[in-house]
């Protein structure tokens, strides 16, 4: 039981506590630490890429290693850094924003995290066992099916396991948002971050199964001799591309939408205004999610689908600019007439607008199918997606972390250092990626281990590399800030930013039951509504009573560990069937844990009224 363990002190007890926790706030921290770690790993890989491309004909990395580097950089950044960091924010914030005590499935929440964790570890183990995957993050067949060694097998198993975790997390958030809202929290009163979490989770629900199937087919081809992508036996390599992008395009909106939500909350808080055009914002979010499923083939314009398909997908893709534009203008007009406070969180958000707009506009340029015959697979595309991903997702994560850090850890990240980290990162970002558009048009394809001298590409690449170093400096300052804040900054109260939404109505960090009494929501921006009525906090919707909480459990960890072990078994049974033992052991652990879970009743425990009253005296009630 988590409460019992927490009372025991000591390092091991803390570890045990985190291994067994089902508390969404602690799971948020786990996501933050692992995602943050993988961001650094992906960042170091990016730096190695940029060093290799610093000058023509460079041989800092070997050709094979370079391909491993880009593959792992892309895969790590997308699946193991950006997504978990987003989940960190969602877990930390969404239940609080809707006035819930926890998520709908605390146990599954923990399972989702551990699956992601072990999937990510499995993927990265490949560095030490003779070579990482090297067929690009898109892993196109037949390069991937014929890639020697076990690199691609790690890709398949790692993503399959962490993908299962993601799917679970998505379902969890969907149900949480549908079922767990506090009284009065209607759909049209939900903060935009919650809304975008909802839409994102729906995208996960419908997009990830396509990846799952793709990975299964890839696994069968590589490990069990099937012929899906083997043209000699009638297979077809385009199938992988479709499956990958049916997943892959929604995935990029899975990445950006939650941060659109975070920006909405931040702009509104630091402009002291309610979000301009709230219902249009909700509508635009849903519409982006919806359209996101109809455009995947814009990644395949040069595959040869023919002019009809290309035209349809081109026009459908362009349509997404409309709801996104609605968002951009609504943010601008949220600030219009407001009282803008330039905190570090706001700084990142403000910087996001021009950066993302450029990225979105190059996206629309890419969507012009005929023109994409020139852009495709060149640095123009690399420029586009780093503008939206770094300028949108990474900026958003920095902004969101600055904004919600006090809620997660009870301390505001040092503002001075925050701004100091911003500037080199911001400048470095534009230096690195703006020039890449031109490099692409001047004839530099992407995924190029070397570019040749005398093609006019030298200066551009050098500038790009310099920019990357500035980003690294920015990142390091941000890390320093975290350490500095942990030791030097004072504790803050529940509502350091003069917030508007429910999460600011409870202490920072919140007690593990979040709300001693479930609040009554009386409008959009519920806390602001109460403040305007001259009240200090939320009005409770229920009398103080016992609170039902779920029990911690080691089973999610065990299930995921089993999958991890089985993963190795699957990878190496090609070499020797004795590895099948690992499959059996691993699956045994997983299935055994599942059986334990379903046969053993687990009804949770209650926190008693007296305990709550004690907490409230100490300040937990407000």
């Amino acid at each position: 039981m988590s409460t019992a363990a927490a009372q025991k002190s000591g390092f091991l007890a803390t570890i045990w506590d985190y291994l067994t926790t089902v508390d969404h706030k602690k799971i948020a921290q786990l996501y933050l630490y692992t995602g943050g770690f993988f961001f650094l790993v992906g960042g170091v890989e990016a730096m190695l890429i940029r060093i290799q491309l610093m000058k023509p004909d460079n041989d800092f990395l070997s050709a094979g290693l370079y391909n491993e580097m880009i593959t792992m950089h892309g895969t790590t950044m997308i699946f193991l850094a950006a997504m978990p960091l987003i989940f960190a924010l969602m877990n930390a914030v969404v239940p609080l924003q809707i006035g819930a005590r926890d998520v709908a499935f605390p146990f599954l929440n923990s399972l989702g995290f551990w699956l992601f964790f072990f999937g990510g570890v499995l993927l990265n183990v490949s560095w030490f066992t003779g070579g990482a995957p090297d067929a690009g993050w898109t892993n196109y067949a037949p390069l991937s099916t014929t890639s020697p060694g076990h690199g691609v097998d790690y890709y398949v198993m790692g993503l399959q396991i962490s993908g299962a975790g993601t799917l679970i997390a998505g379902i969890n958030f969907l149900v949480t948002i549908v079922n767990m809202r506090a009284p009065g929290m209607t759909y049209m009163r939900m903060p935009l971050f919650t809304w975008s979490t909802f839409v994102t989770s729906a995208l996960i629900l419908f997009a990830f199964p396509a990846l799952t199937v793709g990975l299964f087919l890839m696994m069968f081809d590589r490990m069990f001799g099937s012929a899906f992508f083997d043209v000699a036996l009638g297979g077809n390599v385009i199938i992988w591309e479709h499956l990958f992008w049916i997943f892959g395009h929604p995935e990029v909106y899975i990445l950006i939408l939650p941060l659109f939500g975070a920006f909405s909350d931040i702009f509104s808080t630091f402009s002291k205004k309610r979000l301009f055009g709230y219902s249009a914002m909700v509508f635009a979010t849903v519409l982006i999610g919806f359209l996101g499923f109809m455009v995947w083939a814009h990644h395949m314009f040069t595959v040869g689908m023919g002019p009809i398909a290309n035209s349809i997908f081109a026009v459908a893709t362009m349509a997404i600019a409309v709801p996104t534009g609605i968002k951009i203008f609504n943010w601008l007009f949220t600030m219009w007439g407001g009282q803008i406070r330039m905190t570090a969180a706001m700084l990142w958000s403000v910087a996001f607008i021009p950066s993302f707009t450029i990225g979105g506009m190059t996206g629309v340029m890419l969507a012009a199918a005929a023109a994409d015959y020139q852009y495709h697979d060149t640095y123009f595309v690399v420029g586009h997606f780093h503008y939206v991903i770094v300028g949108g997702v990474a900026f958003g994560l920095f902004a969101g972390l600055h904004y919600w850090w006090p809620k997660m850890f009870g301390k505001i990240l040092n503002e001075k250092l925050g701004k100091l980290a911003f500037w080199p990162f911001f400048i470095g970002f534009h230096l690195t990626f703006f020039i890449q558009h031109f490099l692409g048009l001047m004839g530099m394809p992407r995924r190029y281990w070397v570019f040749l001298d005398g093609q006019g590409l030298n200066t551009g690449n050098l500038i790009s590399t310099i920019g990357a170093f500035l980003m690294a400096i920015g990142t390091i300052i941000f890390l320093i800030n975290i350490v500095y804040t942990a030791f030097k900054e004072p504790k803050v109260g529940g509502d350091p930013w003069n917030g508007r939404t429910l999460e600011w109505a409870i202490p920072s960090p919140p007690p593990h039951y979040n709300f001693a009494q479930t609040p009554l929501v009386r409008g959009l921006d519920p806390l602001w509504v109460e403040k305007m009525d001259g009240k200090k906090g939320m009005t409770p919707s229920e009398p103080l009573g016992d609170i039902h909480m779920p029990n911690g459990s080691i089973l999610p960890f065990m299930m995921s560990l089993g999958m991890f072990i089985a993963g190795f078994g699957f990878i190496y049974q090609i070499d020797s069937s004795s590895w099948l033992i690992a499959v059996f052991i691993g699956m045994g652990i997983t299935l055994g844990s599942m059986l334990t879970r379903s046969l053993k009743d687990d009804l949770g425990h209650h926190i008693h009224k007296e305990e709550l009253e004690r907490d409230i005296k100490k300040g937990a009630g407000k």
Partner: protein
């Protein structure tokens, strides 16, 4: 199991359940009939231009019976399930269309 509900309400619920069960049995019979028709058409080689669309239509109707009657999607409190099933079906449809038109050329 002891049951402390007022007798009339108890009766009422049971009647409702019986009513529902009747619908379900009817839908089962329909499903069986559809299946017979589908297999019959193929086994007795009813060769017609429409045979494939007809087969698919029969399947879709049959599945609708499963979802709405057997799985109770017609009952209230199923808005969200319906939304998500239709969402899934829409993506499914796009996927199938793609795989039947854009894979070989």
């Amino acid at each position: 199991m002891s049951n402390a509900k007022p007798a009339h309400q108890h009766e009422y619920e049971r009647k409702q359940h019986r009513e529902e069960m009747k619908h379900q049995v009817i839908s089962f019979v329909m499903m069986i009939i559809f299946t017979f028709v589908a297999f019959g058409m193929v086994m007795f080689e009813v060769n017609s231009f429409f045979i494939i669309p007809t087969l698919i239509l029969l399947a879709v109707v049959q599945v609708a019976f499963q979802l709405y009657y057997f799985m109770h999607m017609k009952n209230k409190g199923h808005d969200m399930p319906a939304l998500m099933m239709y969402g899934g079906a829409a993506v499914a449809l796009l996927t199938i269309i793609t795989f039947t038109t854009l894979i070989w050329w």
